[in-house]
Symmetry: D3
Subunit: 335 residues, 6 copies
């Protein structure tokens, strides 16, 4: 239903489209004339909008975080595009597709979820298989698992990002368990499937990705220990020591105290899982940094999650020596 | 004498009032016309001001940090209020009340000082009572003790703030000494009364709260060791070891090397006093963070002194589950 | 029943008493004669013991962590006392009082527990009163709460130590809440009563104070979140946001990530409770350091929990100037 | 050839001069008229420029990092000077003197290089003398050694800065070796001459000071180990252990792991050289901070390289007590 | 040829065997009689030895680090076994198999080396294949690569340990490159094969595992950059930028400055390789910790390389609840 | 008067000499016979002593830290030398020369003190010259300045060590001030002369080097600020700002908060002085490490003050390649 995205707007174009309201204010010009100022957004970016006439009725109905339908003209003001609104009303629920307002995975979410259930089904230990499948099949959890991002900014910060991250970890877990015979693949898969279940409630991701109050106060590690422990208690006969081991896998997966793990890994599977999780998160952060134009052809933007920028390897290897071109006096220009 | 405060100004209003000059410049318009640009302030905030005609004489007299009297009109320029000055002159000393220009405590300073003397009077050890009362009764010190803030930004950053902080610590000291029989309450009270005496000279707080050069180069710990040591030397017969103990209380009260304490607490009273001082400072920082509107109804602004934001507990407990409202798909909107 | 304690043994004395077996070995002399070597202990210390004749039958019955009855002579070997055993057998359960084998509080445990229930009873908020009293009255918990130490080495490392620590914190909480009107005393008392409940299972304290496997893998913070969350779930209608607040108090009470708190305090009560808990633990560690003879009359032993030694204030203030006596040439010796 | 520098431009002046292009864009006004916007620079600073008419041909020829010749008028726009361009073309190589576009040393580069060769010539150890002179006399190295800055921002960040820094270190090395008889002055001089040779290629400094890709990926320590090792291998008979020692001097000169030294100094000369290099760099950073106006007459600007600001000692000692003037109520104003 | 290993010696046994001399001294008894005291070792441990008669001739020939042949009797002295030597002479080279004196891999070294060459052969990029195979085929390197341990204590601290570690990394690299399509498997294999080549010379491992002086002063990262750079320079036409990339892989593989990497990984392959190398080293350290008896049936020894002990998962899962058994009052003993 | 030093004792020798009593105990043999056990020391080391007969009278007179005269025989017990005492009495003051019991400088203390006065005399600024000479000429200070060590263990840990360190710093200060024209040599000399004056009272160094209670509680920085501030106050007209500068030099000379400096250097002279002081201390620590035999011919002992061992450069350069000898299979042994 949404026809125009913010990054695609051309100057002096007339548009009719839907946006999310990020900010709303009534202001006065120097001459005392009042007008409505909005900041509007969709999944591609944000734009400022002004409405000069007959905005009072519409303005009364509309609040921050509402979806609106607008008819407007794209103008340039101080070198930045701006919408001059002619018509404005609240959008109807059926007119809005959330996917237009939040970035989302390019993979098919249904297929990924099926793949995840397959991984859970491949677990040999009956208790762990029962635990993971019962959690994944809980309808309230399943629905959110298919939408949740893996983080607000650090990595996989888009709808479906958690699913992408977990599928990736399950694949890595199988490979690494094949490599080290001493590892129990069932524990690794259990860790992969459950280690971020707390993020379903730590983050909110309806109209923008953010933290819930509960998420701020407790964090996903504590939240998922509660969820998963209840699930284990609900399985009759679940072995007490295995429960302790699963809890340990969850609380130690950040690997260090200062990253919020109240315990360091003390089981081989916990140690290995921490490395895989950290590596996959960082790889996703590099991917995001490389996907952004930095202005420097051979470098990504600076990633604050990683504390550095990354080399575009292909560009660099294609060029002849960077040293020769950049650092040495150019003989053609100053012969 | 001051009638209008900056935060109360209304558009297109005509005012006559007093301000402190923060910045002064003479500028040219694109057309080459020169004008006077000032940044003016009072305890409620700052505002830009311009004077277009006949400003030369007034401009010559006035410098940064002077108080001025202005007659002006409040206008809006680029969405921000601005003063257009019609008249401008240096204020006379008798026209200015410093309290209008710096934030100050809401408590009665005279009463607080009396309370402090009472705490000193309650000290049983004759040497420590003599020491604290002689310092508090020194007129040069008393005058400044009644004005000094406790810090530039971290906590109690307003006139009279030091007094508030010290009174609070004396009360806490009495309670905690009642709780732990092994503690000497006299030493705790002495520490409370003297531990920030160096701030009287470390900070300057005439027209804005800042650091003196001496304060920058020495810091209040070193400065107060000198002041208090001299006071002890001036008391005939003051026991040498007690002097060492008092000095140790002063230099160890930051508790850690990296916070500028050249020694860690090695006496129980020093250890406990460090906790009380740190806790009271942090409580004041939280109070200041909660007093500021953050835009998020359930959270304070981010406090850089504390490295986090704080929950508004009452708001949060009043609401029904934050989780339900924020993180879960809203069934009304998308049925 | 136990008549002789290890620290009281005199040379060449004959004794009959009970001990706990810490180590057991059969060794050979250089000449090839075999003998039984034990390390025996009680709450006052440990001693080596050897049995030269007819030890085979007794040795077969006895294992590490058993209680034994011995008849022996105290000898000196390589400048250390040693028991030469004449008779040895397994103790009967009814002959042993555990209190002889582990250090314990000097307070009356029953009275302390009653005091604790009184503190819980003084909570005004009905949900928090119900929560704390239901946990304290759970017979399995009550029984262990009356025995548990507060730590293995750091502080209150004796039976009943946890109770002493918690009672102390309740008292401090009441005083500090009276001092700061913005604090909710009910939350502080709840934090005090529940913040170390996980230690009941983190530590084992039957025959020596140590960690359980579960305690090593999960830690008391995670363990008590589970216990307390279940107790809250079991109270019908317990408000969801209040549950989050109680969980936050538990997980943030170590105050810093590097001390195993997965979240920093973000509520005033959590911040203050962290200071009180830390201060009371450190005060107990100082008390223990001062209770040990260091060989230096004016200093405690070095406390590795605190990273320093502490001054014996009374000794130091009694002496005339330490400086004069120690650092200055002694005029009597070299006139 | 360059006649006007950016910091010297006066309003409404007409100029003809050469600049370096930092940014280039074609933009549209609100009314849809397109124009050329450039950011131009020279060694004194940067300025914005706009060309409104007939810019298409010139704009096609010109790219970022080119030198251009312009004819323009200096105007004020939004309180900042701006160039309104009338004519614009690419500069010819012979019209441009690089020294006009990058800050450079005030010393005579030729004389400094001769001095450096003299220091190398004063080395008694034949292998080290051969090594340093062969490197300094390599024409490709010599040419760049005479231009290179010592860093991008931290210290000596101007053309010829490296030479200034190294000459200074050679002088310090001679003095300190005279002071400590156990030091080998030959090793200190070798360290001084070679320790930053990697910066010749780590930095690029043709048109602005920056890092090469190789410099980013390897760093000057690793780069110079390769250069210097090859030079040692090329000297027949160079003793293997002496080679190890020279390599150690290079890799340990940052003194700490966290500053990128893969080894800590384990030879006295390496330890001392680290101190001298660090001290000389910091002294240069202080010099730069003091050379900038901070607005506070007694303080330098804040140096982020040093994490603090520095006192202007002369100003401070000239004034009467800072304390009296700043912190104490001013008796003249409020009698 | 070696028949008795130290850990297998029985009391009062007579043996004839070969040992390595760790320490040698001539001492006097209280009565003034002189004797020879040796510390002898093999790959299984060390033992003290004394020779009382006619030791002078043998003692003259023998020095620390020599191999000796002895005829002796095993006795017990102060509860520790000791050799009483009857005959002693220097061993002949042909009598000694080094493998008896240093711990070594259980894998077949020849097969592992062949496997490594196969991995190098599987590299598609011709420059990298040439580089790795030329290094692996260099006879001097190959010989040492087949013997070198991967570290002195941290992990794979046995002969052939480096080969085991590298083979493992090559396998992991192939798997992970299959998982992340954006990774260049050739660079990962090159990193695996070359990243510890400097250890061939950093460590000495003839008679005991230790560091060479060169290894202490330079470290394996700097040493292998030199070796590998020379190898790249020796390949005609090796692309300059690819050389920089290979050097970057080597110098960044410790991942953090404080672990001696002068640069952080700035290429995806460098980032991933750091994780794999770190994970494989830690897995080996865990393996070693679990292989040692700790006295606690459910825990490994404390690994100082890892800063913790590890759980024996199988033992723990086999037992019924650890909590029940250890932490709860035992009803059978005290009914 | 002292004729035998502990390191020079030969077995079975009979001696008559003076020692300092470090420990004293009365013990019983296994057979119940009591004897006197002493630990005796002089500046060269310590030795155990036993007296078997008629020790009661002497033992009553003697305490720890007393000097004694003994007549004894040197025996070997458990491979360590031991004194068997025949006669024992308290030494008379006139029999003891303290220099025999504490390590001391090899320089002439009188000459060094004269040199120091010369440095003070060379200060041009009249206030600083007056300050330093008045402190150096104070008889109580002068006497202790000529004896004090510079530290307990870190560096210059011997009598006269402080003087050596300060003289060295004055020389360095003159050289470095000649190198950097912006430095004020008077401030550097003042810093050198006064920066450790607090150590005169922080340490006690009558019979062993240790800390006074005052030194433990306050530290030399705080102690010398008091001493030097009083001296400045006693000079009429001493400029207030110069006093602040001198205090800043003292309190910032450790350079970092975590080394006990409550302020970082904010004056060039303070910055430079910190480097010189740190470098000279470390050089002295290296000197001490190299003076001790480590058993490894090419390495010093491990210096815990420096966190590493140091290379004996001469030994290493003399040897042919360490690499060849240590790391490569020895072809002679295994042909």
């Amino acid at each position: 239903m949404k026809t125009s995205f913010i990054t695609d707007l051309g100057t002096e174009q007339n548009i009719t489209s839907f946006f999310l309201v990020h900010e709303k204010e009534i202001r006065n010009t120097r001459e005392g004339k009042s007008y409505l100022r909005l900041e509007l957004g969709d999944r591609s970016g944000t734009i400022e909008a002004r409405m000069w006439d007959q905005f009072e009725a519409a303005a009364k109905d509309i609040a921050r975080d509402d979806f609106v339908k607008v008819q407007a003209r794209v103008e340039i003001y101080r070198n930045k595009p701006q919408l001059s609104l002619q018509q404005l009303r609240l959008a109807k629920p059926e007119e809005v597709d959330l996917a237009d307002f939040l970035p989302h995975t390019k993979e098919d979410v249904g297929k990924m979820h099926a793949q995840l259930l397959e991984f859970a089904g491949s677990i040999a230990n009956p208790w762990l298989k029962k635990l993971t499948t019962s959690i994944l099949n809980d309808p309230a959890i399943a629905k959110r698992y298919m939408r949740a991002p893996a983080a607000k900014v650090m990595h996989h910060a888009f709808l479906g990002g958690l699913l992408e991250h977990v599928i990736g970890l399950c694949g890595l877990a199988k490979q690494v368990a094949a490599h080290y015979p001493e590892l129990d693949v069932d524990l690794l898969l259990t860790a992969a499937i459950l280690h971020d279940v707390g993020k379903l409630d730590e983050l909110c991701y309806e109209r923008a990705i953010g933290y819930t109050v509960e998420g701020q106060l407790l964090g996903h590690i504590v939240m998922e220990v509660e969820t998963v422990s209840k699930a284990m208690d609900a399985i009759e006969g679940f072995p007490a020591n295995l429960k302790t081991v699963v809890q340990h896998l969850l609380i130690s997966h950040h690997g260090q105290y200062e990253f919020g793990s109240p315990k360091l890994p003390m089981i081989r599977e916990a140690l290995v899982f921490h490395y895989l999780d950290d590596m996959d998160s960082k790889m996703a952060a590099v991917r995001a940094a490389l996907a952004t134009d930095s202005g420097e052809p051979e470098w990504s933007t600076y990633s604050s999650a990683l504390g550095r920028k990354f080399l575009r390897l292909e560009e660099f290897l294609k060029s002849t020596s960077a040293k020769a071109e950049e650092a040495v006096p150019n003989p053609k220009l100053f012969p």
